[in-house]
């Protein structure tokens, strides 16, 4: 086991606490760089979505994970970013300009949402952000002169510095990857700055933060604005990746998916956003794979255990019928959410930390290390 001796504050806030980090992140980066030359085009496309979802996940972590303000309206911010890009593109605005403009506009709207949200906590904030998202969705469908209504908008191929970048080219993947890495590094820096410390203080106790001189209102609005702006950047990439956007893509369902990203990944570390994004993007191909191969596999297992060919065929068709039932995916989603909330509240990254600690402390690992405290006395009405 490695012991880190910290002798001053600079040691404590280092981005890479020890040399092992250089090796592991270096290897990861190398793998990501050679990925487009190794993986199939379908997997590459999924990897681009992982980058975009992870960017939104980081944005949501800043707001929900570190400032403690829940939001079920991030699909609306994504939509505003995407539509800004699509609209400005019509007037031949170059990519860097509309990329920044989309982020800026979304950030401003985020701050505007943040102001009313100052007075709201807990459940009221969740409901208010849902309403905001529903109103934005309706505006997108009705403001036909700008958004083209329910018919949606076509997004032209991205052109960067005179070079066209098709949405399934390696260059586009590198662009998304660069945005994700920049977002993560920027957020890590933000979190070790006074602003980030203030966010965490607000999350842990608003009263305590205020009495320590943190301007709670200012920092909440800042958190909303930063989170929205990052989501807006992701929205531009999302629009380019899909090459067609319409209001029904940015529903409450998408906002819930973003929340699931950080919930499954783990809400206390940026690793969670990436792990959650991988999970949520890869679950679709995985379920399709299961649907195609599961019946044959189960029938094969049944055959090895002595079932006749007729029985095996029966089993195969029954399982196939079950697997192709409409809505099975939704049910699996629901079960996954509930199971994670009940049994793995720290998410995938929490599980990784537990496994790591188990081997570091072997055989002295205590399960109680990660046990959460239950609070029965908190009444939101008296806060």
């Amino acid at each position: 086991m490695r012991f880190l001796f910290k002798t001053d504050y600079e040691d404590d806030i280092k981005l890479f606490p020890h040399s092992g980090y250089y090796v592991s992140y270096g290897v990861l980066l190398a793998l990501l760089v050679i990925a487009p030359f190794v993986l199939s085009s379908y997997l590459m496309s999924q990897l681009v979505f992982v980058c975009i979802y992870a960017t939104v996940g980081v944005a949501l972590l800043i707001l929900t994970g570190f400032t403690g303000q829940a939001s079920l309206g991030h699909a609306a911010f994504l939509a505003i970013g995407a539509y800004t890009a699509a609209y400005l593109q019509k007037y031949n605005v170059p990519f860097p300009v509309y990329f920044l403009a989309a982020g800026g506009l979304t950030g401003i709207i985020g701050a505007m949402v943040g102001f009313p949200a100052l007075r709201l906590t807990g459940i009221y904030l969740v409901i208010a952000t849902i309403s905001f998202a529903l109103i934005v969705e309706e505006i997108l469908a009705r403001w036909e002169s700008v958004t083209n209504g329910n018919e949606g908008m076509r997004v032209k191929t991205l052109s960067l510095l005179g070079v066209t970048v098709p949405r399934d080219s390696p260059t586009f993947y590198f662009l998304c990857l660069a945005v994700l890495v920049l977002t993560i590094v920027g957020t890590l820096n933000l979190l070790r700055s006074p602003t980030g410390r203030a966010f965490v203080a607000i999350r842990d106790s608003e009263t305590a933060a205020r009495s320590m001189g943190v301007n709670v209102a200012l920092y909440k609005v800042k958190s909303f604005a930063i989170s929205a702006a990052i989501t807006g950047f992701a929205g531009v990439l999302f629009a380019h990746k899909l090459s067609f956007i319409s209001p029904e893509m940015f529903t409450l369902q998408l906002s819930i998916e973003f929340i699931i990203v950080i919930l499954i990944g783990g809400t206390f570390s940026l690793h969670g956003a990436v792990l959650g994004a991988i999970f949520i993007v890869m679950i679709d191909p995985f379920l399709t794979y299961l649907k195609d191969d599961m019946p044959g596999m189960i029938a094969g297992v049944a055959a090895t255990f002595g079932a006749g060919p007729a029985t095996a065929g029966n089993i195969k068709s029954t399982v196939a019928a079950f697997a192709s039932l409409n809505g099975l995916k939704g049910a699996i989603y629901g079960i996954i959410i509930v199971l994670f909330v009940l049994f793995e509240p720290l998410g995938l990254y929490g599980r990784w930390l537990k496994i790591k600690l188990f081997f570091q402390l072997f055989p002295l690992y205590k399960r109680a290390t990660f046990k959460r405290q239950k609070i029965y006395v908190k009444s939101e009405r008296n806060r």
Binding site: R119, I123, L263, G334, I335, V338, V341, K374, I375, Y376
Partner: protein, 291 residues
């Protein structure tokens, strides 16, 4: 004028349904400080149960209705036991996510079992209208209004006059203190979930003749019930119904007098306005904590 009254009545009838769903939110919130995002889906499931008993098994309407309510009350207890109880006392956000997950699950499973078509339940008041002068009121809408009033009164009396109701209010104020006073908090929470599932079933069955039952009806109406609950002040039983009626009337007026598109947005604009101007709602009371 006649149009106005006609719109008013259909708005009130629709609003009563919102009110009944909001009532479910409020009951659970009052007793456990938890907001059940799957309330609308419980309503949908109740409607499907009633359809199974009445439409498929051919039982009498009232027997089928009672059967569905009883079955859903048990289901509510089961959902509480499996999903909510293990995480009671943890941050509210976990419980919100767990109930969202439960809602997903119920919607998909209902779609798998009963299909995705619109289903209709034959009720004694499906046909027939009440004529007052030139005003035409359908019985199905009137039945919703009457049932809502009865349920609201019963629940209000239950919460304020009975021992069990007092126990529920106590455990919502402070679960630990209530437990020390000898209130069986776990059983109380379980009963609250049963009641709220039963109320949701009533909403679902009464709604069946107006908008048909399909697997997504819970999500659509559940989202509309939030403005109702917030407008009434989350935590007040009459408030939920009054808020629901107001939202229903606003919605149907907006649909009639304003350009297309306002109808769907109006409830949420009202919600945001209420949250900004009077976050405690019409009937809620604001409590300041002394340090």
């Amino acid at each position: 004028m006649l149009d106005f009254v006609q719109q008013l009545v259909s708005g009130v009838a629709l609003g009563c349904v919102y009110g009944l769903i909001a009532l479910g939110f409020v009951l659970v919130y009052k007793a456990t400080e938890v907001v059940n995002f799957a309330q609308g889906d419980l309503m949908m499931l109740g409607g499907f149960f009633a359809f199974t008993f009445i439409g498929m098994m051919g039982l009498n309407y009232w027997i089928g209705f009672a059967g569905a309510v009883a079955a859903m009350a048990l289901f509510g207890m089961l959902a509480e036991r499996v999903v909510v109880r293990p995480i009671l006392g943890y941050p509210q956000f976990s419980i919100i996510m767990a109930t969202i997950g439960l809602g997903y699950f119920l919607r998909s499973v209902a779609g798998m079992i009963w299909g995705t078509d619109d289903l209709k339940i034959e009720t004694p008041f499906s046909q027939g209208v009440l004529r007052i002068g030139s005003l035409v009121l359908a019985y199905d809408k009137l039945s919703v209004i009457a049932a809502t009033m009865i349920l609201c009164t019963l629940l209000y009396l239950f919460f304020n006059k009975t021992t069990l109701g007092t126990a529920m209010r106590a455990s919502s104020e402070n679960m630990l203190a209530a437990y020390y006073m000898g209130i069986p908090v776990k059983r109380v929470v379980s009963i609250v979930w049963a009641i709220s599932a039963a109320v949701a079933t009533c909403a679902g069955v009464l709604l069946a003749p107006i908008t048909f039952i399909h697997s997504n009806v819970g999500l659509v109406l559940g989202l509309k019930a939030f403005p109702a609950a917030v407008l009434g002040g989350f935590g007040s039983i009459p408030g939920a119904v009054v808020g629901g009626v107001l939202i229903g009337v606003i919605e149907s007026m907006a649909g009639f007098y304003l350009p297309e598109g306002w109808k769907d947005v109006a409830p949420y604009l009202v919600l945001l306005a209420v949250l900004l101007l009077k976050p405690e709602g019409l009937f809620g009371h604001h409590v300041r904590k002394k340090v």
